[in-house]
């Protein structure tokens, strides 16, 4: 096009004093940003192709590269930002829906950052986790309503199927297809080593990964891709995906170009066909319908597996969760509006859903008020960024959290938010063999294990500081939380006091 309306948002800055022309940047960039000029024996680059994934920066052996935000700007305007103007230029050119990847990056409140934790001083002893026992184990599933004893007074085991985790964190659903084989293998191996679970997402389970079944949650979503009896019984739990935090009310679309080889086989659809997951489940239009699917799945697996129902955090999430808690589901997973995705329409991602902190607090309260909190366990996801977020979520009432984005970042993701291009330079969100091999699961799984072990230590430190030696004792313990800079309504929904109160 003769007129190029959009100036690159980021610029690649090369320090020519440090560049040794090794051409690693050129070889590692799937977007073709860097180029070698033989006549000048120099490297050059095309900023307009750069997605700011930092692959070249991270691999440059002499630190000759950095990426900076361009200071090129339109006339300052508080209403019409550069981003807004560029989006209009882009749509005026393409006529298409804007696509984005990963979680909502916009400037909405992050309630986790406005909540502070308590610690013991003088009147109640804190606990040193390095010297005293500290329990981070959690159990997910419906809790029995009453203790039953037989004629001899012995306890009757009336416990429904449960999941046992070494710590209250699981890897959230990311399908094989949206992420690579090697990313899946890294997650599966890490989950096994850590004694937690990973989630297949809606893409079926690759035959190589059935051996990690004891640490796998299998997902059934609206497209039913890759679902068959062996699949259902291969994992420890079955998750019905009703919605996703990044795109509530929207289905999924994995383009046919990504449906190749094993992915086509695993999804049970022909090569090259688009994998379209409808927005709703076409057989679920009510809680009663949901109940039918919950029990179909339980029937198919001999009532041996807990069933999870995953929903996006939306406006009336508490009422929906109340319905799900009565549907026979054992676990409710709620995904907040910051949750990640491999591709979503930008307007949906950036404007639909509610923050997970508020959703969690209101769901937990509603279920307790209705006396059905023990019917289900609560798992929350949608941008759990650190161990502090985990502790705050548990204190707000969660039994466990899902992490997706944090896990991908551990694997090398730099949040360039270009997953939908399929050219992930870190070998995560791509199916191009030469890119997939960049993620060596041997390295990847260890990084995930390191991250989770680090969080576990931090969780124990924070619990110890509060004088709590079991994560179960922290669950729903909102007295351990105080808000800062929150208004009355926000504090009321979160069910916490303001700092100083």
């Amino acid at each position: 096009m003769a007129v190029n309306y959009i100036y690159p948002e980021y610029e690649v800055v090369r320090n020519y004093d440090r560049c040794i022309v090794c051409r690693v940047c050129e070889r590692q960039c799937a977007n073709g940003v860097h180029e070698y000029l033989p006549d000048l024996n120099k490297m050059t680059c095309d900023d307009s192709k750069c997605v700011n994934c930092h692959r070249c920066v991270a691999l440059c052996p002499t630190r000759a590269l950095k990426i900076v935000k361009s200071d090129n700007t339109y006339k300052e305007n508080a209403n019409w930002s550069n981003k807004t103007i560029n989006e209009i230029y882009r749509q005026a050119e393409s006529g298409g829906v804007l696509l984005s990847s990963m979680g909502n990056p916009e400037n909405y409140p992050i309630y986790f950052d406005k909540i502070l934790l308590n610690a013991s001083q003088v009147t109640n002893p804190s606990i040193d986790p390095l010297r005293e026992p500290m329990e981070t184990k959690v159990f997910l599933g419906a809790k029995p309503k009453a203790i039953k004893r037989d004629a001899e007074g012995k306890l009757v085991d009336n416990l429904t199927p449960h999941l046992t985790l070494s710590m209250p964190v699981m890897f959230s659903a990311m399908s094989y297809g949206s992420i690579s084989y090697n990313a899946h293998e890294s997650l599966a191996r890490a989950a096994k080593e850590l004694g937690i679970f990973y989630n297949t997402g809606e893409g079926g389970l690759h035959e190589d990964f059935y051996k990690y079944g004891d640490h796998t949650i299998v997902q059934v979503a609206s497209g039913r891709f890759g679902v068959h009896p062996d699949y259902l019984s291969s994992g420890v739990a079955i998750e019905i995906k009703m919605g996703q935090g990044a795109k509530p009310g929207i289905g999924g679309h994995l383009p046919g170009t990504k449906i190749v080889g094993d992915i086509s086989k695993t999804r049970m659809i022909p090569e090259g066909t688009d994998a379209i997951s409808p927005a709703p489940h076409h057989d679920i239009y009510s809680i009663e319908d949901l109940r039918q699917l919950v029990y179909s799945l339980k029937e198919a697996t001999d009532y041996k597996k807990p069933v999870i129902v995953k929903i996006a955090a939306v406006h009336n999430v508490a009422a929906i969760a109340s319905g799900i808690a009565r549907s026979g589901a054992d676990i409710i997973a709620i995904d907040g509006f910051r949750g990640g995705t491999g591709a979503a329409p930008t307007r949906i991602r950036d404007n639909v859903g509610i923050p997970i902190e508020l959703a969690l607090a209101s769901v937990d309260k509603r279920l307790r008020d209705e006396g059905i909190r023990d019917n289900v366990s609560l798992v929350v996801g949608g941008s759990i960024r650190s161990s502090a977020d985990v502790v705050k979520a548990v204190a707000l009432g969660a039994d466990c959290v899902y992490i997706g984005t944090a896990a991908l970042i551990a694997l090398g993701c730099h949040l360039c938010r270009s997953c939908h291009s399929g050219k992930c330079n870190w070998g995560i969100a791509t199916q191009v063999p030469s890119l997939v091999k960049r993620l060596n699961p041997e390295i990847g799984y260890k990084r995930l294990v390191n991250l989770m072990n680090a969080w576990k230590h931090e969780i124990m430190e924070m619990m110890g500081g509060m004088g709590i030696n079991s994560i179960e004792a922290l669950k729903g313990n909102r007295l351990m939380l105080r808000g800062v800079g929150l208004n009355e309504k926000e504090l009321e929904i979160l069910g916490i006091k303001h700092a100083g109160e």
């Binding site: 040794i20 090794c22 690693v24 070889r27 590692q28 691999l59 052996p61 030469s434 091999k437 060596n440």
Partner: protein
Amino acid sequence: MKRVYVNEKWCLACHLCEYYCTFAGTGEKDMARALKGIRTNPRIKIEEKDDISFAVSCRHCKEPLCVKGCITGALTVSDGVVTINSDKCISCFTCILCCPYGAISYADDKTVLKCELCIRTADRTPACVKGCPNGAIVFEERG
């Protein structure tokens, strides 16, 4: 004995091993200063064609043909490592012709260059192994 092994499956053909190898040989502290504007002489080299790539360096054979062929005794085996004494090398290149792996090359002064497993560096870990971003080059004991 620990040797350098290459796992083709994880080689990305990024060529970083070559640069870390050359850098290790210079003894300099700063890579940019060491390698800026020079022709690199790595002792490990990437072989690549289409989608296949792997790094090639000296295997430190149990019965090294290069050592047998060396006419001046410049190449010797010490503790299993095939080493080169540049002072004795007369650049006849017999070793280059003998080596079945193409693992020997020569430096700017025409003396022979080959991998010595970084035995002369401070931490004795081959620089290519440390520098490989994908764990494709390993330094380990294999039968």
